[in-house]
Assembly symmetry: C2
Homo-oligomer: 149 residues x 2
Amino acid sequence: MSEKTNRAKPSDAVIDAWIGLMRAQQRLLGQIEADLKQAGLPALGWYDVLWELVRSPQGKLRPFEIEERTLLAQYNLSRLIDRLEKAGLVQRQTFDQDGRGQWVVVTEEGRALQKRMWKVYARAIEENFGAKLSEADVATLTSLLSRFS
Amino acid sequence: MSEKTNRAKPSDAVIDAWIGLMRAQQRLLGQIEADLKQAGLPALGWYDVLWELVRSPQGKLRPFEIEERTLLAQYNLSRLIDRLEKAGLVQRQTFDQDGRGQWVVVTEEGRALQKRMWKVYARAIEENFGAKLSEADVATLTSLLSRFS
DNA sequence: CCATTGTAGATGCAATTGCATGTAATAGCT
DNA sequence: AGCTATTACATGCAATTGCATCTACAATGG
């Protein structure tokens, strides 16, 4: 008679690591969102989309491509694009090859905002995160975390 | 004349690690929330509060204590407690030593739900997270992440 | 060509969150 | 004691999110 019917129980060490991951991300994200807000800048969600657009070859992507890259839910992205467009940071353009599709194009204002946000964001990353890790730590952490992508 | 006025710029390696952390947490959390939902269980926020209560000495805590332990915002916690109470999982009790305060007490139903959620949660942690790490990895990761608590 | 199925994106509505502020009670100062 | 500041928690309202569903178009199979 098998004893271990319930497989897949994590060890205490795994649970500690799990909690550590959740807490670290929560704290760091909270700190950085606070820095952005204090600088009068929008939240990170806006940055993520702008960044994907800015670094794309033509400064434009299809919504579903943004969705893949940012892990935003489709309905959330749809409305986030609404807000970005209302703020003049992106523009929707028709996609001729497929009547269902569209391009989301970053505007100059969008590029400018992305740069301004990056100044604050970069500093916050370094101060809250980078400053606490050696180069070797950084490499180790990146390697470990890459297993979950 | 100093060249480096703008200090605190993270290296590319630090940025990679940062992105890795955000993405790993986002993916893992999403996966686990999906598992809970599929099992017809409430979201992790409910679990976190129930767990803090269950593991507290008397099965009760002050709201501000829960707040510290979970990093929930005060106004969010206040309303989360409303929902937990409405669901019969906790009860508010008066705190005699301070008229402003109250106890949040976990009920038997609350304890039962915490156990049921843990079964799903534990399995999800192991499958999505623990299974991808050796014991040494786990120790390393915990140690690195602890710098941000 | 037509019917069915799949994909891209939008949207109504309810639930949750964020922000600002409110209320009640305690603590601290003079 | 009396006044002010602080702490604990709640709440109105606007913004965001989640869920389910909808529309429009495209692809596939007969």
